[in-house]
Symmetry: C2
Subunit: 160 residues, 2 copies
C-alpha cells in the first residue's frame, strides 16, 4: 500500500457523498467510451464543477476529468483561483492534472484509486509535494479506491 | 546563462517566422491586460493553433497561451495526439504547460525567454526531461528571448 493511501475512517460523510458524484461521472465517461475517470469540485458544501474524461470526444489533450471540472468551477465562480475548493477525483491525478490544480490554487485534492502508471501524488512522481513549484498541494488518497479501480479494469478488459 | 538557452545560430528562418507569430500573440495579450505570453503550434509548415494568454478573461486556470494553442491545434487536426507538431512559445513553459505538452505528445518545444520563477524546462524544475513521466519532451530555448523578456518587463512595470 502506498503511503498516500489513507484508511477509510479518515474520510467523512461529505467526502463520501462528493466521491459518489465523481464515480457517477466516471461511469458516464465509460458509456461514452472514454477512460472512466470522474471529478467534482466543491466550494463549501456546493458542487461548482463536475466532469468526466472527454479527451477523445473533444480531441483535447487537456480534457482529463480534473481539468474540465476545474475549468467549470473557475467559470462558475468567475475566478481562476479556487483556493477554498476541494477536488474529488476517482483516480490519482497525473502530472498535468496536479500542476493544473497547483495553478488553480486548489485547497485539497481527495482521490480514489492509486495510478501506478502515471500518478503524480506519489505513485510515479510526487509533483503535489514538489517544493520548487511553490506551496505543496494538499491531498488524501484512497477514498472509494475499489469501485474506481474496478471501473477502469472492466473498461480496459472490454477493449482488449 | 542557463544550459537550456541555445545560441541564435541554432535556429533557422522557419523557427524565426513562427516565433514572430508567437510574439504577435503575446503583444495582443498585453493589449487585453493579460500577462503577455504567446504560442503557436505548427504541423509541417502549417500553423494549426495559435493563442495568447487568456487566463483572466476566461477565468480559466488552464488558459495559458500554450494550453490554448495545443487545444486549438488538437481540435483543428481532430486528434489529441500532436506527435509531429512543434510548439513555439515566447516564455519557458511552466510545469502545467510542460506536462500538457507531454500529454499531447508534442514533438518539440521552441521557447524564448527563460522563466526563473516558474520555468519547467530547467530553470526551476526539469519536467521536460523527467524520465519517470515517459519519453522526454524535446525542447530548445533562447529564440528571441530579448523581445519576449522586454514585453513581460514593460507589462509588469506598468502594473506597479
Amino acid at each position: 500500500m502506498l503511503r498516500t493511501m489513507l484508511p477509510d475512517w479518515v474520510f467523512d460523510d461529505g467526502d463520501r457523498r462528493f466521491m459518489a458524484l465523481a464515480l457517477a461521472e466516471a461511469e458516464a465517461a465509460a458509456l461514452r467510451d472514454e477512460v472512466p475517470v470522474g471529478a467534482v469540485v466543491v466550494a463549501g458544501e456546493r458542487v461548482v464543477g463536475r466532469a468526466g474524461n472527454r479527451r477523445r470526444e473533444l480531441s483535447d489533450p487537456s480534457a482529463h476529468a480534473e481539468v474540465l471540472a476545474l475549468r467549470g468551477a473557475a467559470a462558475e465562480l468567475g475566478d481562476f483561483r479556487l483556493s477554498g475548493c476541494t477536488l474529488y477525483v476517482t483516480l490519482e491525478p497525473c502530472a498535468m492534472c496536479v500542476t493544473t490544480c497547483r495553478q488553480a490554487r486548489i485547497g485539497l485534492v481527495v482521490w480514489g484509486a492509486p495510478d501506478p502508471k502515471a500518478g503524480a501524488c506519489g505513485s510515479v512522481v510526487d509533483l503535489a509535494g514538489e517544493p520548487r513549484l511553490g506551496p505543496a498541494l494538499a491531498h488524501r488518497g484512497g477514498l472509494e479506491a475499489e469501485p474506481a479501480r474496478r471501473l477502469l479494469e472492466s473498461f480496459f478488459a472490454k477493449r482488449r
